[in-house]
Symmetry: C2
Subunit: 250 residues, 2 copies
């Protein structure tokens, strides 16, 4: 019954959703190149949907920042510079930092505090005696949940929305450099540090140390920057493995 309801729900906006996911995958998967114009008819045919829901998807992806409008009409894949990616990461750090600061300043309900502390304990369990035994996939999932929960910790719906927004760009996501990277030693080692930062951020929030919480969250986002620098300078072959990094032009 529940499954059927969900099927119905999916079918309700299946076309628009199919278009959104389809175009996004196409862009991030490298099916289309930065700067390339996206033809509506071609896309509609390729995705098996009509132009109307496709246009809705395109408009949304433009808001997300993945596409840009062409003056003469239509949309094109947006190209990013390395500086853009740095800025997107910086922006996420600033917003997560603000969410952390507000949570500290305004106070967090005991229930929420308990929940996020439990999440940290769960994250701890992902680490094993031997680094190669680490539960990587579970860490990635829990890490995403942690950041999502952190965004909502201040109890401000508006702040939560904005943090989620800043996370939309694929390379700005807290999980951007984690997924499918378990075999890169440098990334694995940084997780120990990251987890320590998780703990400190929550601790600062609990002790109502707003400034410290903000600074820690900002610094935590810097890990992504370090990972990006590693990818760009040490091992550019990884570019294809981080979602969205193929959109970088210069």
């Amino acid at each position: 019954m529940v499954a059927e309801k969900r099927t119905v729900d999916r079918k309700r906006d299946s076309q628009a959703l199919k278009g959104l996911l389809g175009v996004r995958d196409l862009v991030l998967g490298g099916g289309v190149s930065p700067g390339e114009r996206l033809s509506e008819v071609w896309l509609a045919e390729k995705l098996g949907i009509s132009r109307t829901p496709l246009r809705a998807a395109l408009a949304r992806l433009e808001q997300e920042g993945l596409l840009e409008q062409i003056p003469s009409g239509g949309y094109a894949v947006r190209g990013f510079t390395t500086a853009d990616v740095f800025d997107a990461i910086e922006l996420r750090g600033v917003l997560e930092g603000t969410a952390a600061r507000l949570a500290a300043e305004r106070g967090v309900t005991p229930a929420k505090l308990k929940a996020i502390k439990g999440l940290i304990l769960e994250l701890d369990k992902c680490f094993r005696d031997r680094p190669e035994d680490m539960l990587f996939d579970q860490y990635v999932e829990l890490n995403a949940e942690f950041h999502s929960m952190l965004a909502g910790l201040a109890g401000s719906e508006m702040m939560r929305r904005e943090v989620e927004r800043a996370t939309q760009l694929p390379f700005a996501s807290p999980s951007a450099f984690l997924e499918k990277q378990e075999d890169v030693l440098a990334f694995r080692l940084s997780l120990v540090h990251a987890q320590r930062q998780h703990r400190d951020i929550v601790s600062a929030i609990e002790m109502r140390e707003g400034t410290r919480a903000e600074a820690l969250a900002r610094e935590h986002a810097r890990l992504a920057r370090h990972n990006l620098e590693f990818v760009m300078e040490e091992d550019r072959s990884l570019i294809t493995r981080v979602p969205g990094l193929t959109l970088i032009s210069t």
Copy 2:
């Protein structure tokens, strides 16, 4: 010729634009109440456009945060709490502060620095010996330009976009509590303070004092919060005169 070109340009997306502006005016002007469901056919008929461009406008306004999607389909006017407005202002402060900090840290081109300093001088000219002679309208316009320029001072297109975004919500705009408020003494007096902050922000940026620039920009946004508190506690009749404030429910 130029005028004709512009007419053509307007006609190009006149329907979609007409829908966007029309619905926005309707929502902000109080033509529809918070929580109220917006019927597409009714709106399309009222605005004299078809449903297709209207839907594009509605989707965009949902991204802007003025509308929200109804689970059963369609859109409704989003209601805001006072806390939401506070948060929106706080958010603008944080983002403008980040733009100022990055400008200070990364340095600003002499041309841009000269331009924004010139803007400050222009703003100075709006003040007269007698407060009642103040060039209010010009101040409002120049103030908007100052904030727009500040957003782009860091030379980061991404940061500029995000600051502009945070400014979209009408009550979060730097001009929110300025327009049509020249006869409110409390607001007029705060402009002297605001202009001093403008000067200090630019000065901090020029001297590469990133932290100070960020703090000043954040505090500058707090002026809007003070104005909002004044409106809500001292003179609620002003609610109808600040664009978007009619959307506040609690």
